[in-house]
């Protein structure tokens, strides 16, 4: 029963969806503060390469090393995001071009490849990796076992993160301030909220989470380093934020949905079913377009809409 196709698809959807979830939660924070960062793929790759570097060089017991490696990945992601934040917040540069520049700078043919090459990470097997854990010995329970208990710690961390971010945005003062900054920076500024401080903080947090998302690849899913390891997951994460209407709890559902579509071709192939895999792989992108059309059409704008000031630089002198 635990090998039935549906269970396998859901379980692999969760495994593949976790890096998407981390990266999308980060992008969600940045977008809620009004900054559209298209550099997710680049930040993920730098997180992945630095996380892998940490695991290879720190040494010591596996568990501490892995925790430190995730931290290193988060810091690396945040540092890359800092470049972007400085450009678009302090220097008021175009967010779209800056985000693409970030991906070119840090991406598969940029800094991540440079670092992987200079630190000599390619072709070396991982010293440690996140193993599936089974804290309660329930992994053999029918249906729910493999879905809920045969997973790595990263997945449980991501669930906590969803709850924390959801509470933060809806129930805390700083969280409400972020939303004000994203909806109407002029109003937020008049309220005495520092727009640029909030934007800096959330773009950096977004970078850190993207770094962790990248580390999910190099420390758990595919424990190794090759150029372009994340294979476009950063772009799916951007799509996911829109697909989930900028809400963390829907992000969780969407991430597993998109993750399942990525894993589905492999699962089906292993069972001898041959449907063109491109169809499934294209679905996340097509569904995002559909959602975007729904969001932007007049009917639903009020309840589901994007942050009002998304992508617009805030210039205090020009209200």
């Amino acid at each position: 029963m635990n090998n039935s196709i549906l269970v396998v698809i859901v379980a692999s959807g969760i495994a593949y969806g976790t890096p998407l979830l981390f990266a999308a939660l980060g992008e969600l924070l940045a977008e809620r503060s009004g900054v559209l960062n298209l550099g997710v793929e680049g930040m993920m790759l730098v997180g992945a390469v630095m996380g892998f570097w940490a695991v290879q060089t720190i040494g010591g017991p596996g568990r501490t090393t892995l925790v430190l490696a995730v931290l290193v990945a988060a810091i690396a992601g945040a540092l890359v995001a800092l470049i972007f934040a400085f450009l678009v917040i302090t220097l008021r540069a175009n967010q779209i071009v800056s985000g693409l520049a970030l991906t070119i700078f840090a991406g598969a043919a940029g800094l991540s490849s440079y670092l992987g090459n200079d630190l000599g990470l390619a072709d070396s097997p991982a010293e440690h990796q996140f193993e599936p854990v089974d804290p309660f010995g329930l992994a053999d329970v029918p249906v729910l076992g493999p879905i809920l208990f045969g997973q790595t710690w990263l997945i449980y961390v991501s669930w906590v993160l969803v709850v924390v971010i959801s509470l933060y945005l809806n129930r805390t003062r700083p969280g409400l301030n972020v939303r004000a900054v994203g909806e109407s920076p002029q109003t937020a500024d008049a309220m005495g909220i520092s727009v640029s401080a909030y934007r800096y903080a959330h773009v950096l947090a977004g970078g850190a989470l993207a770094g962790v998302g990248g580390a999910c690849f190099s420390l758990a899913l595919t424990p190794q380093w090759v150029d372009g390891l994340t294979g476009g997951a950063g772009w799916i994460a951007i799509a996911l934020v829109i697909f989930s209407f900028w809400r963390p709890e829907l992000c969780l559902v969407g991430a597993y949905f998109f993750g399942a579509f990525q894993a589905l071709p492999f699962t089906l192939q292993a069972r001898g079913v041959t449907i063109a895999p491109e169809l499934f792989q294209a679905l996340p992108y097509l569904m995002t377009i559909v959602v975007l059309v729904i969001v932007s059409s007049g009917i639903s704008k009020r309840r589901l809409g994007a942050p009002g000031a998304l992508g617009v630089p805030f210039v205090r002198e020009e209200r």
Partner: protein
């Protein structure tokens, strides 16, 4: 001392040249720091780079090959960004250009070279334009943000390409030859569909010349016609355009089609000049990201068509040199780092064109009017 940033009322002409040039100098300085920090000799790296890009035997020919697609995708981005239409789907539109142009070349096999070449140009432009009209239509009639839709469609286009060659028995796929049995490939176009080249010591591809012609036409269109004037008004003040009766929706569709068509021409040139088949290999055409680099080209060129040609030539040189030098002395990924760094400084430098930075003594009045910090706000 405080730093104050004020909007310039007029932008002096010399700044529009001085700032990009200055940005380039700053970028090369920053990259030198990165190189030093990782134990490479910047002076030697720059010298090798320049030689491999421009002065080594055959280098200019390779640089022109690298520059050709960037001219088209750069013009595509410039055409749309001028109207504040952020079409970042140049990548997918270029793929569709290759699909259309190779279909034309295969279908009309047996015709003379001029017929084939014209057909490929038309088909490439039309397929790119058609793919760009999807986000264009969504933007014009459903006011859906074109940035994300055009970006998503890049991936759909890439997957479609894979489907055509790897997972179906499409018209484009070669199913007969011996090598196709080992690894799926596209049918090879007839020889008459190979675009000509000019020159002997430096070989100029036909696509490069076509790109220069396209840049000239785009410049004429945007600075010498009513169409260009209306686009300018719509980008500067959409409201003024609407009140004066300009048809914004039609213009969105036209500009998106033009932008996608230019990217599609880039695809046609890839097929006609270099590939002579439909290339779906993820490590082939799709790995170069010409569509994305085109946006970088357009931004560096400040959306000026002639500057696009120049910047495409320089970046083509950089990419060519990166490919030629790849090895222990020239770390992989350096080209991307350099491109990114140049773009960062150029984008940052833009501030100096639009704004004036003033250093002034802090006055008590200004200090009193400053808002509370988020920390003090959160503490309450």
């Amino acid at each position: 001392m405080t730093v104050r940033i004020e909007r310039r009322l007029t932008q002096p002409h010399w700044l529009k040249v001085a700032v990009p040039a200055g940005s380039l100098v700053v970028a090369f300085f920053l990259i030198a720091i990165v190189l030093l920090a990782t134990g490479h000799d910047p002076a030697a790296t720059y010298r090798d780079l320049f030689e491999a890009a421009f002065t080594a035997p055959g280098a200019l020919t390779q640089t022109l090959i690298g520059a050709t697609p960037l001219i088209f995708t750069g013009l595509a981005a410039a055409a749309a960004f001028r109207m504040n239409l952020f079409n970042i789907g140049g990548e997918g539109q270029l793929y569709f250009g290759t699909i259309g142009a190779s279909a034309a070349g295969l279908l009309l096999a047996g015709h003379s070279a001029p017929v084939l070449i014209v057909a490929m140009i038309v088909a490439g432009f039309a397929s790119g334009a058609a793919w760009a009209l999807i986000p264009g239509f969504l933007r014009a009639y459903l006011s859906t943000n074109e940035i994300i839709t055009s970006l998503m469609l890049n991936y759909v286009a890439g997957l479609f390409l894979t489907y055509l060659i790897f997972d179906s028995h499409s018209y484009w796929r070669d199913t007969t030859s011996a090598s196709a049995a080992v690894f799926p490939i596209g049918k090879v176009l007839p020889d008459a569909a190979n675009w000509p080249t000019f020159g002997s010591s430096v070989v100029i591809p036909f696509g490069f010349l076509l790109g220069v012609v396209a840049a000239t036409l785009l410049w004429v269109l945007y600075s010498r016609t009513r169409f260009g004037f209306e686009v300018q008004v719509m980008s500067d003040s959409p409201r003024a355009a609407r009140y004066s009766g300009m048809r914004t929706r039609r213009k969105i569709l036209a500009v998106m089609a033009l932008s996608g068509g230019l990217a599609g021409l880039g695809g046609a040139s890839q097929v006609g000049d270099f590939l002579h088949t439909l290339d779906a290999d993820p490590k082939g055409l799709r790995a170069y990201g010409y569509g994305y680099t085109g946006i970088v080209v357009a931004a560096l060129a400040r959306y000026n068509p002639f500057a696009v040609v120049l910047i495409a030539f320089l970046l083509g040189g950089l990419q060519n040199a990166g490919a030629a030098l790849q090895g222990p002395d020239f770390p992989s990924g350096l080209v991307g780092v350099m491109e990114g760094m140049i773009l960062f400084t150029a984008l940052g430098g833009e501030l100096l064109v639009r704004y004036r930075v003033r250093f002034a003594r802090r006055r008590p009045v200004v200090a009193a009017a400053e808002p509370k910090t988020p920390a003090s706000e959160a503490a309450r």
